[in-house]
Symmetry: C2
Subunit: 205 residues, 2 copies
Amino acid sequence: MNLYDFPRAPNPRRVKIFACEKNIELELINCDMAKREHKTPEFLRKNPSGKIPVLELDDGRCISESVAICRYLESLEPEPNLFGKDSYESAYIESRNRHIEFELWTQIGISWVNGPIVGSLGIVDQILEAKNMSDKNVRSFYDRLDKEFASAEYVAGNRFSIADITLITAIDFASEMVDLKPQNDLENLARWFSAVSSRSSMKIK
Amino acid sequence: MNLYDFPRAPNPRRVKIFACEKNIELELINCDMAKREHKTPEFLRKNPSGKIPVLELDDGRCISESVAICRYLESLEPEPNLFGKDSYESAYIESRNRHIEFELWTQIGISWVNGPIVGSLGIVDQILEAKNMSDKNVRSFYDRLDKEFASAEYVAGNRFSIADITLITAIDFASEMVDLKPQNDLENLARWFSAVSSRSSMKIK
């Protein structure tokens, strides 16, 4: 299976970490976003959204969206389980993963699109006021996470799941590319971050 | 099972339509968003995100997030299948559902938060420039959908799925509450809308 990838892009990284945790090998194909290869007609046939990652199966069919790709990989290689072992746990992990995606990732995305790196490319109209608000929302979500980690070891309770991969890739991207490192006084969040960062899969960039 | 609901809120509507398609009965509990009942400490124990819908099981455990709730309902009542019958189809439906959520719903949300109804409540700082951009993104996504419906009967290929429920609730909300009805010349989108709207489950508001 081929994975369309680009170094430092956070969504392909989610899938690469997930595959590593499962010990699944993927053939990486570089899709040069700097050259806008993800917007070519050929690539849009693989994913009409023009985004990476895309998983291309051996028969040529393609799957887009990190979480959909990861769920597909889980169906191929069920262990270690990262999506939930029964109906309730699966729903709980999915809800937690979505909290991170819709309330943290989307805000980091707004800060990124309206921030200096994207600004220097001159390809989008930026809105500074929107960035000020999303920066604030990101910091406020970090505060919430710190409170939650006071009584939970991981994002979805007491075991590692896809929701932890979603969160750590968000925080790494926010820290390295958007200048939104978590506040220093959030000790529970720092404890979680340190524990999850020490997994060997997290070395993948 | 109890579903925390509020009339005209689009996300609880997604779950109510899904449950109706499955012939699952849910006890509806009114969570008065106008009185901010979704932000009380008691409700935040059910869903730390302070949002509806929330499904409360008979043993008191709670599930938040529409898609997580629907997947749980599918595990209780597998037929008619709305999430996919094999690994590939499940991944494909999930990817299409996410295209609608991340590329259309998030933009409708920005237009809503920065639009006149929310503005009249005086509870958020609005950014008109952000609304202008999201309005444009919504219209552009409608154009894309129209092209896609030229060769596909439904959002995820040739059969009804959760992705159609996600799209129709988005378009109904955008049309009725955000003044973003699809452009009149998008005939393929109109054909899909008319076919899906005629299902009896869609009468649920």
